[in-house]
Amino acid sequence: MATTVFPQTDDVVTRTAWQSLHGTISHGDFQDVVADSGLTRTTDRLLFHRDISGSTASSLVAIEETTITLQAGHTYYVNGCLSISKPNADTTDDRCHTGIRVGAGLTVHAATCRSNAVKTGSTAFIYILDFAGSVDEVINGSLRGTNNVTFFEEPSFWVDMIVVADQTADLSFLYQKVTDDNSTFYRVDELTYLKATAIKG
């Protein structure tokens, strides 16, 4: 960035001098697209990720999917949906936690709506939450569905968030088997997306 006001009184500036002073001002990369698994798009104002076939939670290892990287100094409106499939069932299925992984330096204010399609043991369906990184915030505490019945493309929760990024950090969905007593496994599916729009004034 130029460190002085330009031009100053009586300055006469040639094209060369102008470019030297201002070569670091450019148009944003609104058209940039970075692709990896699923659809991952990053522009200056919009971050978007959609999962098409995520990793399988078949042990107690937490699976992090649909990751977007938020830039320090921005405030974002983030919304999305985590959709889960249970491709393999057992006589008594292990349950699964779903939630959000929040990187260090992010402060999140969230309104979330849990689906009642597959969840059990819940008496409330919407939550207004505040949390700051770095945390794993469990939204759907005990997803399972019916024992020994597989399911596919079941939204686990929708979420709307205001996220303040004091540091550059990742925000992602998370799912993890609660127990590993049976052969049940879970997988994120193609209805899952996370979208962040930078807003500040």
Binding site: G73, I128, K200
Partner: protein, 252 residues
């Protein structure tokens, strides 16, 4: 903004010519973004990291860390000016043609905290996170929420999301949208999505409400959430800190 590429090959420009060509550069609300991050510097200084910032769709790259002096024992507000320099004040009043970058809180000799949060309320976007609990007792008279409102003009259409954290006693809580006449809207309470009309308050004893709608402003002025107790009671009905409002102007 000048509509032609400036300067072109062979151009020579004076300050007068530059001013004439560029004096209309402003920070249009719809595209105002800031991306510089703050951190505690040495002593009473804040460091503004090198990186990118966006003004009106332009990407401005700062090659190195900028150091700005702060006032002691204060909340200092840091702004990027349209000439690339920075302004720091303790009033919180945003100077014209600036972007807000963040706040740096100080004690007598050093920075104790930095934050990039600030409520946004401009012609295109409104974003407010309620900073403090607000309580009403022994009253059923609707009042505007202290924070979850903004100023809009009749005829504007806005997409609206309001998330409320609520605690009540036996007085419960009635809420309404003000400034939108009798237009319908939707909200979610528990497992129900409910259709309601502005101007006709809704009653809830729940602890969380999510309002989603697209509405058109019918009365220029303060619009947003208003609420009171549903039944007058000595115990508090409270909308809690952390509740938030997001509004985006669609048309008008």
């Amino acid at each position: 903004m000048a509509t032609s590429l400036f300067p072109e090959a062979g151009d020579q420009i004076t300050e007068a010519a530059w001013t004439s060509a560029n004096k209309t550069i402003t920070n249009v609300d719809a595209f105002r973004l800031s991306g510089y991050s703050l951190s505690a510097g040495t002593g009473l200084n804040v460091d503004i990291a090198s990186g990118t910032c966006f003004v009106n769709g332009f990407q401005i790259v700062s090659d190195g860390t900028q150091v700005e002096a702060l006032s002691p024992n204060s909340t200092n507000y840091v702004y990027l000016n349209d000439d690339g320099t920075f302004t720091v004040n303790t009033s919180g009043t945003q100077p014209a043609d600036t972007l807000f970058l963040g706040t740096a809180t100080t004690n007598a000799s050093a920075v104790t905290a930095v934050s990039h949060y600030k409520a946004v309320a401009n012609a295109a976007n409104v974003m407010v996170v309620k900073q403090a609990d607000e309580s009403v007792s022994s009253s059923t008279t609707l009042q505007n929420d202290d924070e979850l409102v903004w100023t809009a003009t009749s005829g504007e259409s806005w997409e609206l999301l309001i998330a409320l954290k609520i605690s009540t006693g036996s007085g419960n809580l009635q809420f309404d949208l003000t400034g939108f006449g009798s237009q319908p809207y939707t909200y979610q309470e528990g497992n129900n999505i409910i259709f309601a009309d502005s101007g006709t308050p809704e009653n809830t004893s729940d602890t969380a409400i999510i309002i989603r709608t697209v509405v058109t402003v019918s009365t220029t002025g303060t619009v947003g959430l208003e609420w009171a107790q549903n039944v007058s009671d000595a115990s508090n009905s409270t909308i809690q800190a952390g509740s938030f409002l997001m509004a985006r102007r669609l048309i008008g």
